[in-house]
Symmetry: C2
Amino acid sequence: MNVVTISREFGSGGREVGKRLADALGYAYYDTEIIDLIAKKAGMDKNYVSTVLESSPSYAIHFGATFSAIPLYDNATQVLVAQREVFEELMSKGNCIIVGRGASCLLNKDNVFSIFVYADEKTKVERCLARDTTHTETEKSIKKMIKRIDRNRRHYHETYFGVEWGRKENYDIAINTSGMEIKKIIPGLAAYVKGYFENK
Amino acid sequence: MNVVTISREFGSGGREVGKRLADALGYAYYDTEIIDLIAKKAGMDKNYVSTVLESSPSYAIHFGATFSAIPLYDNATQVLVAQREVFEELMSKGNCIIVGRGASCLLNKDNVFSIFVYADEKTKVERCLARDTTHTETEKSIKKMIKRIDRNRRHYHETYFGVEWGRKENYDIAINTSGMEIKKIIPGLAAYVKGYFENK
């Protein structure tokens, strides 16, 4: 089965890229529902799972530490194990696109095409303001949110996977959506993904 | 007119991407001949032009230095001026693809789609060995060559344009050709470029 993973800067349009690409390729699309599936599998509260996956870890993992200081098998590890199992189950069902949740780090690389989506700050702020239906956000509050969320994503990847989030070498393609209308880039991206899997 | 610029790590297949993409899009393709055109325009020896464009600058440009220490209008600057003029003339002739020579930094961004091509070391070494028809290179010599050439490209961009070479934010797309057969990625890339210019 083929899997496309999408990692993205907050506000870069990564989720829209994922949804539209899934439609174009006829792949299943998984995003926030992954949290529910992991929570169910791990037998944990979904708010806790969400905290592990989306917040900056509040402690460092020290492999050199003594067992008395660091639990060998803690709750966060259980989430990671459940997460990997959920991804493997989703893959086994058929071709799919997974947005976020560290999928690009957790899946076997062979059947995976990994995309990183980024954009300049101006574009990201505009996109976030456009989808703020409550009209409570300001340019300043959005900029702060972008910084905080992306910092958490970076910390999450570094802490759990030892991977530099956003470093192009860790992805098959990195696309800049600055000033772009997302739907216009989908036919090309879909064709690129098809070419990649034909290459394998 | 639309211009596609291709910057690339040595051995990443960037030149092949450029040639095949030009064929797929029906664009003109410019690569090493640019050196001749610049030399002719600047009235300089093409070996000198080549040295300026492809070697690590042997001196730093200090804008704060006194005029007595640094010539106001030196030969390297003349090359840069000629280079920009050559690019603009090529653009005015019609849609084209320009490989290397700092084109992504020198051209007006509005009509330019910029690509960065990269790959893992294993792939780059294999590609270089495969095209070494003299059979005089070794894995070790190739690795040294890759390092040297890419270091020069990085220095050239930093010194003349103040731009970090290879940083994804400086390009519209960055593509990883590790283990890939270049021709398989061209239809997708061509479709992506078309989508980009329709977006503008």
